[in-house]
């Protein structure tokens, strides 16, 4: 923990700086591979949609302990009641879950009575869920509509609060997070329930939240750099990333700990259910979200910004100044990962905007 503090100090001053923006091609490659994989899996396997999206009936029978034999028993009971079980699974070691195609309420009552009899449990303890065939479509439609409205409003907000390139970069990072999270669902075959959809939607908020915090620092650091010729936009943005890195790590840890706790407690106490569906989507999404706000959003932002006339001019001025200032021309703006953490001695009275990278000239 102390070393994270130390790292924080060094990162803040620029003694240690990870060249995140400069290596954007690496991050893009990583993301591109993940996204390609996601889309490919989605295309090949598709999502394992829960009963809420397919329509049908679901019965959860609580047992002292559920095993393969209970599955067989349940299957037989369902068939004996004249229905067809589409899936029968053991959930959390204590519950047998039976899913059937859509049933009328009468048929569902009969079946739940038959199951209660077969397993000698009270009928009232069987959890029953009936879902009409159009319900899932509606949930999906609602979610998509919410997503669209959200994106438009967020884009407007970010454009006003920051500027439009930041809005674009934030939305790109957002799309990145959702695609990869959905891809992981497709790949792992985890069931997609309305709770997971809530999870996905929350990721949107969280991913943006994270990006907003980083961009706020970028905005602060890049204010007024165009008057000088010391740092380029990318370098300032990279410094901002490094300065907020400890914050990002801390925030992610603090956000992930409760989610992790839901996952662990939920699985051990309840088996699969709302809590876990939600927590799983959140866990994956938050990890990806933290990654993207650092490694995707800001590099992408720099890419857009470096194309503007004033930043091209700035980059030229900075380059010219460095050529004159250093004959060896070996002024890497940043120190590579793994550089020793050196607490710098001597008075440090510079402003934030001064280039930490010129430390080597001292």
């Amino acid at each position: 923990m102390a070393s994270l503090s130390q790292l924080g100090n060094s990162l803040y001053r620029g003694d240690v700086s990870y060249n995140i923006v400069g290596r954007r091609k690496t991050w893009y490659l990583v993301s591109a591979i993940l996204i390609t994989l996601s889309i490919a899996t989605l295309g090949v396997r598709g999502l394992n949609l829960g009963i809420e999206f397919k329509g049908g009936a679901e019965f959860s029978v609580p047992l002292a302990s559920a095993n393969d034999q209970s599955v067989t028993q349940a299957r037989e009971a369902v068939i004996a009641a004249g229905e067809t079980p589409s899936t029968v699974t053991v959930v959390g070691g204590k519950t047998v879950r039976i899913q059937t195609p859509a049933l009328s309420t009468e048929a569902s009552n009969d079946l739940s009575a038959a199951l209660a009899k077969s397993f000698a449990v009270e009928e009232g303890n069987i959890k029953v869920q009936l879902v009409g065939p159009s319900w899932g479509d509606e949930v999906t439609q609602n979610a998509l509509r919410a997503l669209l409205v959200f994106l438009i409003l967020v884009a407007i907000f970010l454009s006003i609060y920051f500027e439009w390139p930041m809005a674009v970069a934030a939305l790109v990072a957002l799309a990145h997070d959702v695609l990869i999270t959905v891809g992981i669902y497709a790949l792992s075959g985890f069931e997609v329930t309305p709770a997971s959809v809530i999870g996905f939607l929350t990721i949107l908020g969280y991913s943006l939240y994270d990006t907003v915090v980083v961009f706020d620092k970028v905005k602060e650091n890049t204010k007024g750099i165009h008057g000088g010729s010391r740092t380029t936009y990318s370098e300032s943005a990279n410094l901002a990333l490094n300065q907020t890195l400890v914050r990002s790590i801390n925030t992610s840890v603090v956000a992930l700990l409760p989610v992790l706790s839901i996952l662990v407690v939920g699985v051990s106490l309840l088996g699969v259910g709302t809590l876990n569906d939600l927590a799983l989507a959140l866990f994956v999404g938050m990890l990806v979200g933290t990654y993207s706000s650092i490694f995707v959003a800001t590099p992408f932002l720099c890419q857009i910004k470096e194309r503007t006339a004033e930043n091209i001019a700035l980059a030229k001025r900075v380059q010219a100044r460095r050529k004159i200032g250093d004959a060896s021309n070996d002024l890497k703006p940043v120190v590579a990962i793994g550089a020793p953490i050196v607490a710098s001695a001597g008075p440090r009275q510079q402003q934030v905007k001064k280039p930490r990278s010129r430390r080597s000239g001292k």
Binding site: E52, E106, S134, R145, V154, F157, V212, V254, L260
Partner: protein, 521 residues
């Protein structure tokens, strides 16, 4: 700016606010715990949506009427705190029925099968002692003769079978005599088993009937429309079309009834155990369609047609989702949610304490304050606007721990940044806040935005989650602005913090500043 900020005053306001909330929450005679959703305490939730043919639109009127009838029916189950709510409007409206506790499995049937409509042959009629009312006792056509039924006529021979078949709870004829329509609660509706005999009243309480098992049930009717006779005179009437099996049953029934004497030539149209109308049958009707005529007004005819078509509801309903959760499971889920929340909170507390030390203590206090405030607001909103805490709401709250803690983290990191710049603690705390405030507000705004959009555009569990998340974001802002900042400022002025022990979490030495340089700014 820094000079004008009074941490003690801010703290006092916050504490007074919390005490106010506590008093409000624990007002005697009110509920002191949040209202739990049915996934946390067990119960049945049914989501219904109107089935509307393409091109049709629902009027708000139809919807309101439907809701009030469903509400009556739900109230009829006698379960406290049952709820009928509506989300959305027009064709996309959803009716959400929530019945807490352990409910019978037939509850769903009773809601879904809009109402039970039975056609029962009349065994006996009692118009009561006063004058016979002009109730819409029509007749079934072709010929439409309003039927001046005799006041009392019990056909004793027809009362024989009921005595044996009705549940053995006494003499059928005696029960018929004993029933007093003006006092009995039969009019509030009841389940009507079409296979059983029934003693009941007309819906205005004026007439008493003894009825045989149903010859036809509601599903035998294909359509019903109100209209005026095509040729010439006569009042409003209702045209009925039976399904094919219904037509056959109807033919058998009318053949049998038309041969009998009054009042046994009548059949009663019984909805949820209450007689709506009892037309007499003049002749056997074989074609599968019939006309009920009599002294109907236009409204009465339309209402009867509606009843025949849909049961009592003005619109057809489809079941979107049914969830039945036993109280045991609900309790388990609540426990798991609380354990997960508690455990998650504990982990976060440990992390914050280890990393931020003295500042961590403030963060933990702030989290506690936020948790307390959230609980109080849950209780108050549960009473005020019927906010129910569902499992997804609990999940939202757990997730919000992270977002709340993040506000403190942003603030603390900013303070540390300022100290790394070489500023003094007091200055760092103020300037750190100025910078962090903007970020916290912007980030919380995005959270709030997503919560609001989710809330307005979704149904069911998603809503509960969005509401909780939005609520806690607001609580977070209140706590960060009123409580955390004040506490940090106050403690930041203490000698111990200024001395910069490594346990403060803002020790200049640990933050890489030489003591000689800390005076530089």
């Amino acid at each position: 700016m820094a000079q004008h900020y009074r941490p003690v005053r801010s703290l006092l306001i916050f504490i007074v606010g919390i005490i106010g909330l506590i008093v409000w929450t624990f007002l005697p005679g009110e509920r002191h715990t949040p209202k739990l959703g049915l996934d946390l305490r067990g119960g049945t939730q049914v989501i219904l949506s109107p089935s509307v043919a393409a091109g049709e639109t629902l009027t708000q009127d139809q919807l309101t009427q439907t809701i009030s009838i469903i509400r009556q029916r739900v109230d009829g189950f006698g379960v406290a705190e049952s709820e009928v709510t509506i989300q959305g409007s027009g064709n996309s409206a959803k009716i959400i029925v929530t019945i807490p506790g352990e409910t019978s499995r037939t509850v769903v049937d009773q809601l879904k099968t809009t109402a039970q409509l039975n056609f029962r042959p009349v065994l006996a009629i009692d118009f009561g002692s006063p004058q016979p009312s002009a109730s819409p006792t029509g007749s079934t056509s072709p010929s439409a003769t309003p039927d001046p039924s005799p006041t009392v006529s019990v056909a004793p021979e027809l009362l024989v079978p009921p005595i044996q078949s009705v549940d053995g709870s006494g003499d059928f004829a005696d029960r018929f005599t004993a029933l007093n329509c003006s006092e009995s609660d039969v009019l509030s509706g009841s389940t009507d088993d079409p296979a059983q005999y029934l003693i009941t009243c007309e819906k205005d309480g004026s007439v008493k009937y003894a009825l045989a098992p149903a010859d036809l049930v509601g599903t035998d009717i294909d359509s019903a429309t109100a209209g005026l006779p095509q040729q010439g005179a006569g009042g409003w009437q209702v045209e009925l079309k039976m399904t094919t099996p219904g037509g056959k049953k109807f033919a058998d029934s009318t053949t049998k009834l038309s041969a009998l004497e009054s009042p046994n030539d009548q059949f009663a149209i019984v909805l949820d155990g209450v007689v709506i109308s009892a037309p007499s049958v003049n002749e056997a009707i074989l074609g599968g369609s019939a006309v009920i005529s009599g002294s109907f007004t236009a409204d009465e005819a339309r209402a009867l047609a509606q009843v025949l078509k849909y049961g009592a509801l003005p619109i057809g309903l489809e079941v979107d989702e049914v969830q039945q959760i036993s109280p045991t499971l609900g309790n388990d889920q609540l426990k798991a949610g609380l354990i997960a929340g508690g455990f998650g909170l504990l982990l976060v507390i440990v992390y914050l304490l280890v990393y931020y030390r003295a500042l961590g203590v403030i963060a933990v206090l702030s989290l506690m304050a936020a948790a307390a405030m959230t609980y109080l607001v849950f209780v108050i909103l549960g009473r005020g606007i019927g906010f129910t805490l569902t499992l997804s709401g609990v999940a939202g709250a757990i997730v919000a721990i992270g977002i709340t803690a993040d506000s403190f983290i942003i603030y603390f990191e900013r303070i540390r940044d300022e100290i790394r710049e070489g500023k003094r603690l007091r200055v760092a705390i103020d300037q750190g806040w100025m910078r962090a405030r903007r970020t916290i507000l912007a980030a919380d705004f995005v959270s709030l935005l997503s919560a609001a959009i989710l809330y307005y555009l979704s149904v069911g569990s998603v809503r509960g989650f969005a509401f909780t998340l939005g609520l806690i974001t607001l609580v977070d802002i209140a706590v960060a602005f009123m409580f955390t900042r004040a506490l940090v400022t106050k403690i930041g002025n203490s000698k111990w913090m200024l001395a910069g022990s490594s346990w403060t979490g803002v020790s200049p030495t640990r933050l890489g500043v030489n003591s000689s340089t800390s005076e530089a700014n």
